[in-house]
Amino acid sequence: MAKGILIRSKASGGVTLVRSSMKHKMETGQRKNKKTGKKIPAHFIQVAKFEHNGKVVFTANLGPAVSKNPYVSFKFKGGNKGDTIKVSWVDNKGKSASGEDKIR
């Protein structure tokens, strides 16, 4: 489990609910450094891909208006207890991280 990524999935009645949060400052690029008056450059997650047993089920394209430590939740049909749900993100500076968990 990668640091800073929380992902929990629960299957019930044939539908899996996935909830995740990814640690990231999500800097908008519009804030100014109070001391220097210079704009703080934008730094935010752009794409977070969710895979169910290796197959992409959901792709979140995020802009800088998404809150700090983005929370994303979605549902999909299918999915059984013990299946793997994985999330991988990449930000606008090319940094990336991933985390996974089993469906409960």
Partner: protein, 154 residues
């Protein structure tokens, strides 16, 4: 074609290609096409055009937006979209009065249902729009969220 934009685009593309070939972008599947022009659009019309190739979105009662009437913390406004529709390609969340209205654009793979929940920042009181792309058409719903400054009602 705006020459300046085009040049910028090629430069950015070049930088990504260099980074990719250097093996810096490991999970390569993650590097899907982030819809840059949609996120950089300064008005809703341009954002919709970039997402769906049309700026006409039909209002639909099948889309429900769950958001607070009054947001006390404007940096974290929980928005949930629940749509009772089939064959949805994507769900977009638009905050009308933000400097760049498009906040998030979710692409649904096979099996994914018309549901998404996330948190967004809001510059001021504004309509929040959920736009769904299904069968090549856009459908939308709106809800106003009041943003209080200083947390004293308003």
């Amino acid at each position: 074609m705006k020459r300046r934009l085009f040049l910028k685009g090629t430069l950015a593309g070049g930088a990504i290609a260099v980074a990719a070939s250097a093996g810096l972008l490991i999970p390569r599947t993650v590097m899907a096409a982030w819809p840059k022009s949609a996120f950089e659009a300064k008005n809703i019309k341009d954002a919709l055009n970039a997402i769906g190739g049309t700026s006409t979105a039909t209002s639909s009662g099948k889309i429900k937006i769950n958001a607070p009437e009054i947001a006390e913390v404007s940096a974290e406004v929980r928005i949930t979209v629940d749509a009772d529709m089939d064959n949805i390609d994507s769900i977009s969340i638009i905050v009308e009065k933000n400097p760049s209205p498009l906040a998030a654009h979710f692409e649904l793979g096979s099996g994914a249902l018309g549901y998404v929940s996330t948190r967004v920042k809001m510059a001021k009181t504004s309509n929040v729009m959920a736009v769904i792309k299904a069968g090549g058409k856009l459908y939308s719903a709106k809800k106003e969220v009041k943003v209080t400054v200083g947390g004293c009602g308003g």
